[in-house]
Symmetry: C2
Subunit: 431 residues, 2 copies
């Protein structure tokens, strides 16, 4: 703990009173150095992160984060899902303008997904503190529990309970592959807060989230930052095709009941329909229930279809078109039938609050215009149900995420932090 | 063992001397009952078989088979690969006319694949014995070791060593998934014969193999039996496509490096080219090296391609056309490359010996004419390198094989047994 203590003390000592700004400013070096420092708990030799929700490393970084927030004058509350609310008082009382994200990672994740948002929030608080700058509304840095859904399914769990999308009982009873529950881990780390995890108990004025894009749009355009106007709706399905396994050598082509033929046509059709409707379609899992063998025509194929659209009506149309197409393909493929079609999960589209988005938009004026609808889910999806919410994306190399090679430059990270600070201050001045 | 002993004793006692035929005849009931009896070692509740090569059940059925052959006057030799040669003397000395197949099965196999050929051979020997019929040449029933290639890769292993296609060292050193070798199992069961596994050491005059078709041609035509004139060439490849895994929600369709897109086009192309060239193409295994996830575009695809043709030149053309097509598809798919193309195994086409085939043809004269080139490999492929070889197919329900529901009627089994006996006797009279 000594490194962080001495770093903060040095910062405070080094700023001459005469140079105290009336408007705070991000310290790019401090933001980047602290982000890398915070990764010491859970870093892997390949440059990535393995910090599953509520494991020992997650507990360590949370305790460190709380201390750093307290050093800049925050009052810290932990709710019954372990969500951390570090509140810096403003001129007035009332719900805080929050900057939230997550500190848990994928098992082979990167150093920026979620971590960026929390560390930028800390930097905003430090910048305000060192400038002696008091916002009108209180400010809050939030760490949401189990956003990734890697250790405990589903993802975005802590914010879902806060938002009332899931019950506390549901959230605390989720278990990992070893049967350990969220509640047990919260208890083990003394993070089982007494405050109810509830938007009514812990209301927010607004929620701003800085995040890496996790996609290739900014990188391809060579732009550093984007205004995020909403989040796509998505639906996951598990589809099974039943054919008839038979010998590869003895079954003439015209007598085969080959589910792979139907599958391939379905996969290509899904791609085309997604493009046609302006959405996305992905098959990320494909396999068989029956054992596969080189010299056997497959008996069955099971696959997962993930479709997305920013517009709920268009999403309905895309799903309907895919269902019609798949039914036609099965119909025309000899001896193959659509055995089952199960809806696994779904999320409606989200349009972020126009005012909050506008604050981000204005904060991005210095940069090339770029507006994105997020293709991935974030805690902001849940907060948007109860308070104005907006997000900021920064570029990540090759659009790679959920991978050790996930990377954003120090410069882009600084841009993101500045935009976050600017957007939050604008919102604070406006409402 | 008591059941089989009493069955044979009953048979001998029940045939009046006056009814002893000068020409032997298959006893349909005995053939079928004995086949079902032999399945007790390895049968599964669903009506199928799980008798992997050289496991305890395989050892039991082998010992039983040897005893049954000895009861009808055979001298039994086991070679260094555990191949069993049960030889019934003829009027003259010299290499025997053999009837061979295999007793090992797939892990979820049927009761007829291989088993039919061995039990029909036993029935031919019993029929000759009970008729007091001496052939000119010795007759032999052969059980070839590890034909299926399910436990030890590759298939047709015992006959391959006998034929000199593989070395004894290679054959004995094959290991199963648990690291246990062929040699260890042979030793464990006392089936490690002292006789060299060699066509020079153990020459055959001819090899006739009765087998289920394992395909739908006879069933579709409603014919019980076919003359098999040869075996298709086949080639197996393992092909890897490298794309780039990325988030299903954040990667626009036009920026994806999706190996699944290329794979689907390749699979459909392989089907079309097979039809165009009059051959067969099958993808029986498909998966990924990188972990699959519902919301991730696949990073890579690995699949197995099995192509077949009865004509070696056409086979070369088919392979060349597939290679060109796959290269073109990879070329036109953004960010996807053909990372590797490995030849796993290959077998040239086989034309069976005209005289042996003609004996089968004549033995089938009573039935609707049907001639087939086998799409599957059999031990007969290996024996054909060193002695005249022919095969007989009988119909199996829906063409299903390698599956518990594999089925041939008692009547068709009797037809097969009669044709085998007739073909062998004709050949014996001719050469």
């Amino acid at each position: 703990m000594s490194t962080s203590q001495s770093a903060t003390a040095t910062v405070q000592a080094n700023i001459p009173v005469s140079l105290r700004l009336s408007r705070p400013a991000i310290n790019a070096q401090r933001l980047n150095d602290t982000l890398q420092l915070s990764c010491q708990w859970g870093s892997t030799p390949d440059g990535g992160m393995n910090r599953l929700a509520l494991n020992d490393d997650d507990a360590r970084v949370r305790r460190w984060y709380i201390e750093e927030c307290q050093k800049v004058g925050c009052q810290v509350t932990v709710d019954a899902m372990g969500n951390i609310f570090a509140v810096r008082p403003g001129k007035n009382q009332g719900p805080p303008i929050a900057m939230g994200s997550h500190l848990d990672t994928q098992p082979t994740g990167g150093r920026y997904d979620g971590i960026l948002g929390c560390l930028a929030a800390l930097e905003v608080l430090r910048a305000c503190h060192e400038a002696g700058y008091l916002t009108n509304h209180p400010l809050a840095a939030i760490v949401w529990t189990n956003e990734e859904g890697a250790r405990f399914i589903p993802s975005m769990l802590g914010s879902a309970v806060w938002a009332g999308v899931k019950s506390l009982e549901f959230g605390q009873s989720r278990v990992d592959e070893g049967g350990v529950s969220v509640r047990e881990e919260l208890e083990r780390h003394s993070f089982l807060g007494v405050r109810a995890s509830s938007h009514q108990e812990i209301p927010l004025k607004a929620h701003f989230e800085l995040h890496i894009e996790q996609g290739p749009i900014l990188d391809t355009a060579a732009h550093p930052v984007a205004v995020v106007t909403g989040v796509q709706a998505f639906r996951w399905f598990e589809i099974k095709l039943q054919g008839r396994g038979s010998h590869a050598g003895t079954t003439p082509m015209h007598l085969r009941h080959n589910p792979l033929t139907a599958f391939c046509e379905m996969a290509l059709s899904a791609d085309q329909l997604a493009i046609q409707f302006g959405g996305l379609a992905t098959i990320g899992r494909v396999g068989s229930l029956a054992a596969q063998s080189t010299n056997c025509i497959l008996d069955d194929i099971v696959f997962h279809l993930d479709i997305r659209h920013h517009d709920d009506d268009k999403m309905d149309q895309l799903e309907a078109a895919v269902r019609v197409s798949f039914a036609q393909i099965a119909e025309k493929t000899l001896g193959v039938r659509l055995a089952s079609w199960e809806a696994l999960t779904a999320s409606k589209g989200v349009q972020f609050d126009p005012l909050a988005v506008d604050c981000v938009r204005n904060a991005c004026k210095a940069y090339p215009k770029q507006e994105i609808i997020s293709g991935a889910g974030h805690d902001s999806v849940n907060t948007s149900k109860h308070c104005p919410t907006a997000m900021i994306f920064i570029r990540c190399k090759d659009g790679i995420s959920h991978h050790p090679s996930e990377y954003s430059t120090r410069e882009d990270i600084a841009v993101g932090g500045s935009v976050l600070l600017d957007a939050v201050c604008r919102y604070d001045s406006t409402v």
